[in-house]
């Protein structure tokens, strides 16, 4: 197997580990920390202790510039995600939280490093390395464990954890992970392979389709927006678009052969959209991608399209069935996986 194949196999079947220096993590403290988040985030900021919620940060035109989770732990709020620099996000929050003063923002990236662990047995490895509290962490939950922050979230469709460890402890934790991970056939996750897994799961990728100046409505991300809130950056633009209607939508597709980003998609010689992102899916054995398709061709389950002679069909998401759905921390173990899942 090539290195990329090993990496993919680990994410989909055992455990993979990545450092993801591009993951931002901001901590908001002060009595108005949640008010500040409420002012800038398009989702409802109603978080129980230890709860995370997936949302976006939008510019004034309603276009996402960051793909983030908002979280609560004790009195503090957290904003973690991708797509922008920590300082830029902090400045943007401060600028838009008009009239809200009693909060301050710390970039945890200055004193912590992130370790991302993904895979159907990520929970088991993490519990062995970091302790049994990991097992009790529900999806989209966070906890503070000794000196580190643990967030249960991921974009590969498998069990996923982000561990923020103090920078001076990082080496030790990595050694620990590598040592314990050997028994789990853990591999380092290659960045392009992770992106491929994100694509198979139809998770939003701010660095790929996020670069096409599309709104959450076109990106099928309305579930990350509140249906009640009307005052956040970008709200007006989205309101206008909702009113006028939108006529194109990000849709998942599959092709037997590779196709290129930006290629035109046709239906009986009519151009009905174009490819934004595409790549090979080892789990499926064909190519999958995300296309921007015009109404009414924007539905899944249609096989009437072509990309330069290659047939293209639209499909429902996610594009693959993840092993993690079948793996339960209550019943299973990596070490007995052959019997467990037979």
């Amino acid at each position: 197997m090539t290195e990329a194949e090993v990496s993919y196999h680990a994410i989909r079947n055992s455990v993979a580990f990545a450092e993801e220096p591009e993951l931002r993590c901001l901590q908001l403290t002060g009595s108005q920390a949640f008010d500040a988040l409420d002012a800038v985030c398009p989702c409802d900021i109603f978080l129980q202790d230890g709860q995370m919620k997936h949302t976006l940060l939008l510019d004034d035109t309603g276009i996402p510039f960051a793909d983030v989770y908002v979280c609560r732990e004790g009195e503090n709020a957290y904003l973690i995600g991708y797509g922008s620099g920590a300082d830029e996000i902090a400045n943007w929050v401060t600028y838009h939280a008009t009239g809200i003063t009693d909060f301050s923002i710390v970039d945890l990236g200055e004193s912590y490093d992130n370790l991302t662990i993904d895979g159907p047995y990520a929970w088991e490895l993490c519990a062995e390395v970091f302790g049994p509290d990991i097992l009790g962490l529900p999806y989209l939950g966070m906890l503070v464990l000794d000196a580190m922050f643990v967030f249960r979230a991921g974009r590969t469709g498998e069990y996923g954890y982000h561990l923020l460890v103090p920078t001076d402890q990082k080496e030790r934790w990595v050694e620990n992970l590598l040592a314990t991970g050997a028994a789990f056939e853990m591999a380092r996750a290659d960045e392009s392979v992770r992106a491929q897994c994100v694509l198979e799961s139809f998770f939003f990728d701010i660095n790929r389709e996020g670069q096409y100046h599309l709104t959450p409505l076109e990106l099928q991300l309305q579930w990350r927006l509140s249906s009640q809130k009307t005052t956040y950056p970008g709200a007006e633009a989205l309101h206008t678009l909702r009113h006028s209607g939108w006529t194109r939508r990000l849709t998942c597709f599959a092709t037997p052969d590779p196709v290129n980003a930006d290629a035109e998609i046709t239906c009986d010689d009519e151009i009905v959209g174009h490819v934004l992102v595409a790549g090979y899916s080892p789990a499926r054995g064909d190519c999958v991608g995300k296309a921007l398709l015009n109404e009414p061709y924007w539905h899944a389950g249609l096989d009437a399209f072509q990309v330069g002679g290659i047939p293209l069909k639209t499909i429902s998401t996610p594009a693959i069935n993840n092993l993690s759905l079948k793996v339960s921390p209550y019943r299973h173990s990596f070490h007995t996986r052959a019997e467990d899942l037979s």
Binding site: S31, D44, F46, L47, Q48, D49, G50, R72, G74, E75, P132, D133, L135, G136, L137, P138, L143, S226, S227, Q228, S328, P329, Y330, R331, H332, S333
Partner: protein
Amino acid sequence: MKIIVTGLGARCALGENIETLWDAIEQGHSGIAPIHRFNVGTFDTELGAMVSSDNCCDTEAQRLLAYGCAAANEALQNAKIGNRDRVALVLGTCNGLLGRDLHSVTTDLSKALKLGEPAITLSTACASSAHAIGFAADLVRRGVVPSALAGGVDILSAEVFAGFHSLGLLSKHPCAPFSTNMGTTLGEGAAFMLLESERSAKERDAMPLAEFMGYGFSADAYHDTTPIPSGLGMAKALAVAVRDAGLEPEAIDYLNAHGTGTAANDASEWRAIQRVFGDFANQLPVSSSKSFLGHAQGAAGALEAIVTLMAMAHKVVPPTINVTQPRRNAPTDPVARPKPRPYMIRHAVCTNAAFGGVNTALVFGQADGTPRDERKVPRSISLVGAGVAQDGQQVNQFAPRTELRGIDMSARLLASATGTALADAGVRTRTPDCEGIGLFVGQTRVSPESVKAFDKSVQMRGLPHLSASAFTRMVCNYATGVCCRLFGLKGPTATLSTGVESGLTALILAADRLAWRDDVNHLLAAGVDEPDASDNYKNGAASILLKAGEASAPMNLTGWALATNCELATERALAQASLNREEVVLMAVLGPPTVAGLWAVIAAMDALKAGEQGPFLISNRSEGSAGAAVILETGSKACDLN
């Protein structure tokens, strides 16, 4: 004061009385068998732990009463109690009548047994009877009554069976907690214990069976039906209980777990045990009696406490049977063997958890333990916030609509009043400020709106396809659980279904609890009343935040009392406040029955704020079997119980 257990009684799948129960456990015989009383042919399992009964009972109410009478009479006889005039009844029940008219079970039983002291009903789903034991112990400890019969009764009906089945919680195999076979088996029965003050027991030369040492209650504030996976809620109840008993965790010799057998419960519970006991958890025998008794719902806590006390008396640890292969992340020592293990238990803990995110832990010890230091002077009780609701609309100010999806009118009303009370007191919800705040609610029945939705789903789709979400709302403490989740309240909770006095009863028990126990400083006392079609009053709810030990509070509760009638309750409340009847202003009690008393208290708070002098007396207006009275005063006059 030591609280002594002097009598036990049980009617369950393991037979007629506590002897047959104990024989079965000694022999390793489970009470789980195919159900015949109702048709289970269309379900994945036919198993239950049913009381092998004659055809004595035409209705479910009769059956509840029959089981209750059998167990309660046995406990009274076992305690050799002659005069029943000074015995209170504290009963936990939930599913027997599907949340309808719960208090009638208690009053019927109290009448049948000819008990002379107040009868109180707790309905906190599967923790009901454990709650009842804790509250009964408090009544005895405070000297309100010399003795109390505490326990619970529940029956397994086709609806409850179908409801648990729809949630995927029932096992195809006999319930095997901590084993790789997951899921639970439902059961039924009744169990009671007589709790008595040491003095009362000595006076009548009663044989002490054990000491009730302490308890802890908590709320998960996480989910309506799933326990919080971190185990934090149960860990809190356990830690509080062990501390209340004056013990270190290492002094516990045995833990009788809730251990339902479901994946979510057993993992969360073990995590909680690990949190509290640390490495010692690996040496602690932890077994679940549900492998014998099934999950007896509202009666589970009392039945399992009785198994624990019998085991203490017989110097053994009861086993978990049916275990095939040990489960991952489950107790290190589940006592997985066919018969009990010889072992001397000095102190034991019984845990229970329930829908609504409720946790309880009860601590029992050998009767010859040394007495512990107790608080001699009560803390003062001030009223620091209040909220009233009539249409349930205010809740929308406190939570987005997504968080309120599917909640019923009772929950809306209670959350509206409680959110308003917390805002009135300036509490920031869902922050660490709320960690220690508890919620005692008076609610006499399940929301009629949810009953209707549930009945409709059964009618239209049949039992096997009933609405799972409507079923999860069919417990009387559903609204209480919703409030805890919405506002992040994690302190002790209880839902009192004690007829029309429920609201005032909640206030009185909350005040008493705060005055005498240091583990909590804030409690909300609330009530909710959602009428059904036959009632001629409107929706209502009230919630009041109480604070203990506030040096200079503008308003205090200086007297409170529960008694068999309101005259007696008033007399006792006045005596506590050192006031004469002529010195107090009687507040009118108007509104929906369950909340009218609380509305009157809030009216008195408003009057005091507006500069009226008071003191105010509020007592319930009913002619019923119980009375409740409280006194409100301005200024910082501390309450004086002498």
